[in-house]
């Protein structure tokens, strides 16, 4: 019987990193022989095969089997996958697969797409490493693999100025963030003399000392940059709007959530006794993040920047779920937070992919210029409408179900604070309609000049992922229990750790 650690290393990480090398080498050879476009297609096909294979292997995860079955292998201690990691894998793989199919149509005119798919696989491998990490060093190393590949992907279209400028901002702010985080982790190492999370936790079982509090502050700040908590979010709107749309979908859908997940993993692994304090910090950050993100999004004129600020706001909802869960020790908060990660990943990716398709056809990103585009490309515009309504939390879409769980756990806590928090969340949901509705209205208003420029049909490679994501958003809105299975397993895991 295989142990979860060996499973994670051999069945998830190895295919992704090895696949990245194979994708790049074969893609390069084909593009030398047959030209750039053929190389890109071959690279995409290999990347798709690898991700689909790893995704299918996910379902053979052995669970908490045979402890120490392969204890002879020393490096296995650096991985410690559990139900939480499996949940993130089950969200990430479909997203990467759909984005790879989308990029096949969307990136067909770019050069060097063999590198694009290889970087995407490295990014996926980095994410899976972060969620399966068992000690602070492997967490940091995989996080940097994820970050470096996403820096390159954001500034992939280096011929124009915007991706490069946004990319540099992204590099500096995120490098600062992750270095501050590793600085906090190094303080933990000085304090405890070990890099394994369990051993560090054993050292700080009593009341926290000054070094531990300093480390917690540095780690929260460092990963807060990655998770785009206000006031550390300033890189996000630039990077997410300058990136190619497929990459924006991945960044908004899963990468910032993995940033928060790294913080969550450290909180659960290292600071499990400071729940009340951590909960308070998270609740304050979440309330500020949601409100700020929504208000700034209203002022945006660029549709991708608007969606990027809406990611900041949605990140606030996810953090709010966890903050309430930690503070009131309620399982519903964790369920809401994790389920919102799941639904938001597909809704936000759907929004970015459909907007990317609209931008490609019309050549403009200004909302005011998009008048009447919905009348000439109805399928894409309807997909965007479904994503926007889901993100706003309108009933019948998946976003409503996950937001409902977050509202519910605040009211169930019964205290004034819980009611106030739920009210803030509901008010924010209404505010967010203030920027989704005008965008939808513009898309379907009488035709303008941008609509006249649209010609030709959308390629099936672009349309297929959009249709699948629309289906996921609608199905989870009517039958949330279909997506709740892995979420509930992950919540049980959290409750095991914090003892509830």
């Amino acid at each position: 019987m295989q142990s979860p650690e060996l499973f994670w290393a051999m069945r998830i990480l190895l295919p992704l990193f090895l696949g990245a090398v194979v994708t790049y080498v074969i893609g390069k050879i084909i593009s030398r022989i047959k030209g750039d476009r053929a190389g890109g297609v071959v690279a995409a096909v290999i990347a798709l095969v690898v991700t689909v294979a790893a995704y299918i292997l996910c379902f053979t995860y052995p669970g908490a089997a045979s402890a120490g079955a392969e204890s002879g292998i020393a490096w296995l201690g650096s991985l410690k996958p559990d139900a939480l990691s499996l949940l993130m894998a089950k969200i990430m793989f479909p997203l990467v697969i759909l984005v790879a199919i989308y990029s096949l149509g969307y990136m067909k005119d770019d050069s060097g797409t063999d590198k694009y798919y290889a970087l995407m696989l490295i990014m996926a491998g980095g994410m899976m490493g972060v969620v399966g990490a068992g000690d602070i060093i492997s967490l940091y190393v995989f996080f940097e693999i994820l970050s470096i590949s996403s820096y390159c992907l954001v500034s992939f279209r280096k011929e124009s100025w915007e991706p490069i400028e946004a990319g540099f901002k992204y590099v500096i702010i995120n490098a600062l963030g992750s270095t501050v985080a590793i600085f906090g982790l190094s303080l933990l190492y000085i304090y405890s003399g070990s890099v394994s999370m369990a051993e560090i936790a054993a050292h700080i079982s009593g009341l926290p000392d000054l070094p531990v509090l300093a480390a917690l502050a540095l780690i929260t700040g460092g990963f807060g940059v990655k998770a785009a908590m206000v006031p550390l979010h300033s890189w996000l709107p630039d990077a997410h709007s300058a990136a190619p749309s497929g990459i924006s979908a991945l960044l908004s859908g899963i990468v910032i959530q993995v940033g928060f997940f790294a913080l969550l993993r450290l909180i659960l692994g290292v600071f499990p006794l400071q729940m009340q304090m951590v909960g308070t910090i998270l609740i304050i950050l979440a309330a500020v993040t949601t409100t700020y993100g929504n208000f700034i999004a209203i002022a945006q004129k660029d549709i991708k920047r608007m969606l990027a600020y809406s990611s900041v706001a949605q990140m606030g909802y996810i953090i709010l779920g966890f903050g309430v869960g930690f503070y009131f020790h309620s399982a519903d908060g964790f369920t809401g937070g994790l389920f919102h990660i799941e639904t938001h990943a597909f809704m936000k990716a759907l929004a970015f992919l459909s907007v990317g398709c609209i931008i490609e056809k019309t050549g403009t990103r200004r909302i005011a210029d998009l008048k009447g585009v919905g009348r000439v490309m109805p399928a894409t515009a309807v997909a965007f409408t479904i994503a926007a309504l889901g993100l706003a939390g309108i009933p019948a879409f998946s976003g409503f179900m996950s937001k409902l769980m977050i509202y519910k756990c605040g009211f169930q806590a019964g205290t004034a604070l819980g009611v106030v928090l739920s009210s803030i969340a509901i008010l924010n949901s209404i505010i967010s309609l203030g920027y989704y509705m005008p965008a939808i209205h513009t898309l379907f208003s009488p035709a303008g000049e941008a609509a006249a420029k649209v010609k030709g049909t959308v390629s099936p490679a672009i349309l297929l992922p959009i249709v699948i994501m629309v289906l996921i958003t609608l199905v989870l809105g009517w039958h949330p229990d279909l997506g709740l299975g892995p979420v509930n397993a992950a919540v049980l895991e959290i409750l095991n750790i914090i003892g509830g």
Binding site: V141, I164, A166, F168, A175, V180
Partner: protein, 104 residues
């Protein structure tokens, strides 16, 4: 040699170097200096790992961790430098106040 005195000095040095690095990133407008500030910050982390290793009698582990941090820092710096090259091609400048077209 008194180890207790030693590590207080080491911690002071770590905090000072980290502070200098963050100060450099925040206040400088030249992109190369911003990257240098980032490099200085990672040097503080490296020193912290070596100090921790010495304190707990595992110098080998401390140095290994330091080398891991150095490798990652080199990779990030390389990506940053390549972006500076591209920015110079587009703008002919390496100062952030001359290239600000994106708003906050």
């Amino acid at each position: 040699m008194n180890l207790a005195v030693n590590w207080v000095w080491m911690l002071t040095a770590i905090v000072v170097i980290a502070g200098l690095g963050i100060f450099c990133i925040v206040t400088r407008r030249n992109m190369f200096r911003m990257l240098m500030g980032f490099t200085m910050l990672t040097k503080a982390v490296t020193l912290a790992f070596v100090t921790g290793g010495t304190l707990w009698g595992q110098p080998g582990l401390g140095q290994t961790l330091a080398i891991i941090v150095i490798v990652i820092e080199a990779a990030v710096t390389a990506v940053g430098l390549s972006m500076i090259v591209n920015i110079y091609r587009h703008y002919g400048a390496v100062n952030t106040n001359q290239i600000k077209r994106l708003r906050g």
